[in-house]
Symmetry: D2
């Protein structure tokens, strides 16, 4: 089955293919009375937009969003918000030579096995272009959780991982890599450019931190905050791993080293809740936020579209080889950062509403 | 909000607390006509059952399951299957001294922040005891996907990771660690026993492989097979990370090295589908199974209950320290293996039914 | 598919068959901190309980409810509330002679067509005995909407309909028919007793009124308050029609006669909202409550189990006749009244929480 | 909360307001490989389209549908189908005089009470214009259930009810009332025209019959086929009552008179299933289809927009009167017929897929 709705209280339904006339999202359950217009959404789409540097695909898309419903006199009405982005640069001919064969590492074979058809135009629904709709919806979600601040940034490209101490969130926007370490950003220029020239590709790791999340969000035991985040992140194109807090590193720790000790609230700051002297848990315990920063990390595989020929088969089952000439990101994880942030916003907004439903 | 139903077409609703009279699961949507009785479920519960070796908690629970509905004359009827497990060894007094303080690393504070109460009896609903219900429901799910074989096993305890070459699935049941490497199993005896004696605890990584999954299961783009697996696994108590296929390692690969080349089906085996010469993707592309083995890895943090005192606060916000004397697993990830397998079975069964709904 | 969960924010999952060991409900999403014990539920079950007069089935069931989870120290915890009712009087032998034939008007044939089996023991899952679980869950739901008062009562038995002017809600409990008109109650004694003696059966209409519902509950456009009520009521065994407000009579009215004029709030009662001088709409406009009493009416068909032989077929398709000797209600609509009230409570509680999620 | 998704396996999400730029539906879960283009949808929209006779609103809308996704090379792909209809005739000025007051009988007050705003442009989201999206989605749903034939027609306008014997389904399209009785159609011309001239309005009853529904569709006990139909129909604008089969009339019947006797399948027609010699149940027993025609009846109240002044209040709570000058249907139930048919198609298609999920 296809299942194109995300969320429980705040629900986003997306539609559209890479090379259809448009794509979009319907956001349902948004509280009324929030100030919203296209200008509140567009900057997030611009951050994700392709074609802005030589480090991303050269597909040129304005990615201009239109709000078709759910807003009246500049405010949300509580009714569904329909967002539409027209596709303008759909050079389908690029894909003609792979119309009848499966691109390894892509969803081509799996989609055909499931649905019995081959939409060869850039992957159709499986294209990462769909994430534009998520980013637009995520911008709406952010309005619902103004108490939070969400940063997503790339902490690893290929084998080059930045040092935690070097992270300076203020510099994320200063480079085309959403990199919080200016030195690493310079290194990555060479790294990504070389991969691009070689027709190769690189993986990446994106980290996302949300501060200001109050204690109490999360819906155990099957819509835990961390479980919903994991599902949200793993569902992004090219993602193969998700960690909360220390993640896999926690498996190698002893209990004493993994503890997050608590201390009384700071004097005169009782409303801030207790102070934690560590955050191995990434701000979530038992599937519920603790009031600490919510931290997750997301691993992106290298783009499957490469110029090196790879063994494959045709739709009729014969041996062939595929090399992909289309316009692609040499490191798809980079443009994944705004998508990760959008999914974080959607999950947090959903859980704020869910929490309010039960606990008032 | 609490949200205690898992799945879309096959739905499991669980209930029960660590120290209440019983816990259970209602499994809805199960196809009719499948042979089912308590004996088909009990072995899976026995594998997860505590108190069987000195390496797990000494809580003694028979974990005997009763089927209360949904089965008639030895076969499923298509109506909801109610499974109940009575709690028999509920030594609540163990917890009296932490009744008014929060155990660091546990869900105590988060639950109180959310719901405004403190069920100090072993964590109440947040206890890993709830996973017994998942294992029981997972046994039902397995009946729905007889074409698959699911193995879950521990590949890392603390810092000790087994070699891939050493994995022999036939040996998983020969040791108390669900370890597929007999040599590692012997090492872990010492490791876990030492941690137990020291009142410390260890993390672990569980790997789960499902073979026999046909190409085509998965519901893009918001119920992708890998996204649903990630949500299912991250929702297990103490889990902090999930990987599909190469996972985080894929982030460090180049596109050429991450490719999963395809070749025509073996002669006379057209029904088996194409042959893949690698499985970096872990059997899932675009959120849909490819016919290769589905592979995921799950990181468990060390048990938070340790004898070392950790700074904490009382319910009224005063500084205190907590050391946990209760009966606990020194390495909770070990008993996590049967739970991981159960969640894999539940996700696969759900997606088999979902696929059938849309694609016949 | 079977689908045994009702509700969106407050969710009830029921299980159990007429002649299994027990039946029950899991109530999920209930706010924490509400006082709850078995005594808060039992009176509602007692009102629905069979065997209390000669006007209902002679099956003797204590219908004693047990709370198995979700309550700690007398209060709801916010975690799932598991309710169980054991079946004690399961005289299955009564059904032996219809084991291989379909009872006309019952769900026997339809269940077999769907699931491929015949649970001849009193209808199995299709038995109205399942509604005990709804009544128990409905008692929990009432705790969530203490601002409302819900009355359900029988306004028609067979062709005998009471006059609106004769309705006195204070008398509902004074007779075995949930009849708000003492004179009608006396007439119905004869009517129902005659039907019982003749082995015949009668239909009925139940009306349900909820006062105290504030304006603003309802989730347009696909979970409107009236739509959810209609689905809830039509899903009760033997129900064939549902009306809100004037219902079918409204179809014969002109716009002027169907208007519900509004006037300003009474002096000093601004919080009560506007005054309406009519309530043709039954307290719901555009799928949202208006603050007026919510009114619905529910039509029950006559019990299908009658002593008159009716043409039928066997499982193998041969002609036969069926007369049903079991213990049955001569007028199933009577015991439907507490079930209608329970479903009203469940829908209102669900929508209170849904409203709170979006609108704070 | 707003809740704008309908269905479980086949899911329709609609968006749009009466006077926004457009409205639409996203249809998710549709099987792949079905032939679909705009021409397959447009005739259903044309049937519902306003402005085609003096008996309906004079708003002129082309209601031209565009398919924006989910179709490739003329066939459904299994991915979400986005349908959009632009609003072209949005004379908002008509509504200026009611911008600050509530129209009695409309959802104006209820929406304001819920969401805290007043979209005075023709009712905003609460307008029946939203049903255009349902009709478009319903046309897609029909493709999923080609084994069925669905007819919806008006059986009562005001107090004038047609005789069952006079029903001739072949004549439904011959008059502007979806009336299956040519003589009644002529009577209704005068009736509706008089109401229109007087600035009054009339209610109506629509009947819908689906033939060809196989036995076995329906998802007890909380997504019974009849319960889902009731919810679907009651959620249509202006609907106040729903009946299945004999409906409220069944309440006045005795068991013998309400029985639907069964006989063996006709010789050589075993696949057709048993023959029923009556259909009081309307083709549904225990919430599951029986193979007989599925029959429901739906009561529409008279349009609330009338020229007679009705007492009302302003947003600030002062007394006023309202008479509605906009362009309205004098009998909204008439154009309700295509909407009823669309909802029948959506429910049947949903349940076909649900049944297939569980029962193969």
């Amino acid at each position: 089955m296809s299942w194109n709705t995300f969320g429980r209280a705040l629900r986003m339904t997306t539609w559209g293919e890479s090379h259809g006339p448009a794509l979009g999202a319907v956001v349902d359950g948004c509280p009324p009375g929030l100030a919203l217009d296209e200008q509140a959404i567009q900057p997030f789409l611009d951050a994700r937009r392709p074609g802005q540097s030589k480090f991303t695909t050269q597909r040129q898309e304005a990615d201009a969003v239109r709000i078709l419903s759910g807003v009246f006199e500049g405010k949300t009405t509580g009714t569904p918000i329909s967002l539409m982005i027209e596709n303008t640069d759909q050079r389908s001919k690029d894909y003609s030579e792979i119309a009848d064969r499966y691109r390894p590492g892509h969803a081509d074979y799996a989609y055909d096995a499931k649905y019995g058809f081959r939409d060869y135009r850039g992957g159709g629904r499986s294209s990462a272009r769909e994430t534009a709709a998520r980013v637009a919806a995520g911008a709406v979600a952010r309005l619902i959780v103004p108490e939070t601040t969400i940063h997503a940034y790339v902490v690893q490209v290929g084998e080059d991982r930045i040092e935690r101490a070097a992270i300076d969130l203020a510099t994320i926007g200063d480079n085309p890599f959403f990199c919080p370490d200016p030195q690493a950003a310079r290194r990555w220029e060479g790294l990504v450019d070389a991969a691009r020239k070689e027709g190769s590709s690189l993986g990446a790791v994106v980290e996302c931190v949300a501060t200001g999340v109050p204690a109490g969000w999360g819906a155990p035991v099957y819509a835990k905050l961390d479980a919903d985040l994991a599902g949200a992140m793993m569902g992004i194109n090219a993602v193969k791993g998700v960690e909360i807090g220390d993640g896999f590193a926690a498996a190698a720790l002893r209990g004493e080293d993994n503890a997050d000790p608590m201390r009384p609230a700071a004097p005169g700051r009782a409303d801030d809740g207790p102070q934690f002297t560590a955050n191995h848990a990434g701000g979530i315990a038992g599937g519920i936020s603790t009031g600490q920063p919510v931290v997750c990390r997301v691993a992106f595989k290298p783009t499957s579209s490469i110029l090196t020929p790879v063994d494959s088969i045709t739709r009729s089952g014969e041996a062939t080889q595929v090399r992909t000439r289309g316009r692609h990101d040499p490191c798809v994880g980079i443009r994944g950062a705004p998508v990760v942030a959008a999914m974080m916003a959607l999950v947090l907004a959903d859980h704020k509403l869910l929490h309010r439903a039960q606990c008032g």
